[in-house]
């Protein structure tokens, strides 16, 4: 996931802005980390450079 696309991402549940936390990053993109909603309690994982923004009940 590229950092520059952060500004158009939003929490799928409350549509609030997301805050990026990086665990691993290469020269192009974030590989693992998380996206924390700044408005509701949800946090979404980033694995293998793909943010998992499925609603919590579908995430499994």
């Amino acid at each position: 996931m590229k950092r520059e696309l952060m500004d158009i991402l939003a929490c799928p549940m409350c549509k609030g802005p997301l805050q990026l936390e990086v665990t691993e990053e290469d020269e192009n993109e974030v590989i693992t980390g998380s996206l924390k909603c700044t408005q509701c309690p949800e946090t979404y994982p980033i694995n293998d450079a793909i943010p998992n923004l499925l609603p919590p009940d579908l995430r499994d």
């Binding site: 991402l9 799928p12 579908l58």
Partner: protein, 280 residues
């Protein structure tokens, strides 16, 4: 089927397809003769050009769409494009070639297996302007007014809540932004045994809406200038050769006459709609 159950069978069905590699249109659960060549034949039939088929990484085209070349042709350099149900990324890569380096293409799909494939395809072909997100088209993970064009190819029929899909699409589009979708709709209600079939749901039949209701749902979401750009009868030979349809036909011992009637009620449409200015 309940909404939750539909979501589950659709996800599982398409995860299976992603693992199998290639399948006939729209998306039968079993494939007797799938493969890249068949995917190419189907894609050619629904209107993609040879150049377009050559222009994407191998493996990105699973032959699952009903065709969205009109939408792709309308994209401008620098556009931010969202693809609903991006699958292995075929339309995303074609869109990425159109919008260029200044543009961005975001593919959203709820099937992990499909996204892994898409990402692998992007990595191999070194696409810098395409990104994929695991997400649900009824709950889009995008900010309000953030996208220039929303495209979708034979996917919205699979959603148990189409009203919500169009409402979410409207929300994320910037004022003046466009919706350009290709989908399967009905001219006549399907017989109950097809409506109740899980295979037919995954194969884009049972979830399809009546055409007028589909267009009305887009209008109710707030879109204006809603136009059907193209309309094609779902080809009967494709249906007879489709393993899903064949299984249903066999199970029901359906006479050819009745089969013709079913085939005559299913069409593929390309719809254009605009989010009016001044709604932000």
């Amino acid at each position: 089927m309940k909404e939750e159950e539909i979501r589950k069978v659709v996800r599982e069905g398409y995860a299976r397809i992603a693992r199998q590699d290639s399948n006939p249109c729209c998306a039968p659960t079993t494939s007797c003769c799938g493969g890249t060549d068949l995917a190419r034949d189907i894609s050619r039939n629904v209107g993609y050009t040879e150049e377009e088929l050559e222009a994407v990484p191998e493996g990105a085209n699973l032959g699952l769409g009903c065709g969205n070349p009109v939408a792709l042709a309308s994209l401008q350099e620098g556009d931010i494009v969202l693809d609903l149900g991006s699958g292995a990324g075929f339309d995303c890569f074609l869109a990425a070639n159109r919008v260029g380096e200044r543009g961005r293409v975001i593919g959203v799909d709820m099937t992990q297996e499909m996204l892994e494939k898409a990402r692998e395809n992007a990595r191999r072909a070194e696409y810098g302007n395409v990104e994929f997100r695991l997400g649900e088209i009824e709950n889009l993970p995008l900010a309000d007014d953030s996208v220039d064009v929303v495209i979708s190819n034979c996917v919205i029929n699979l959603s148990p809540d189409k009203k919500r899909v169009f409402a979410e699409t409207f929300r994320v589009l910037r004022p003046g932004g466009r919706l350009m979708v290709s989908d399967i709709v009905l001219l006549k209600e399907l017989p109950d045994f097809i409506k109740d079939s899980i295979e037919a749901y995954i194969g884009c039949l049972s979830g399809a809406m009546m055409k007028d209701i589909y267009v009305g749902t887009i209008q109710s979401a707030g879109f204006r200038d809603v136009r059907i750009m193209d309309e094609t009868l779902f080809p009967i030979d494709l249906m007879v050769n489709d393993p899903t349809a064949a299984a249903i036909i066999e199970k029901q011992e359906l006479p050819l006459e009745e089969l013709n009637e079913v085939a005559g009620s299913v069409i593929s449409i390309k719809v254009h709609a605009v989010k009016p200015n001044g709604t932000a």
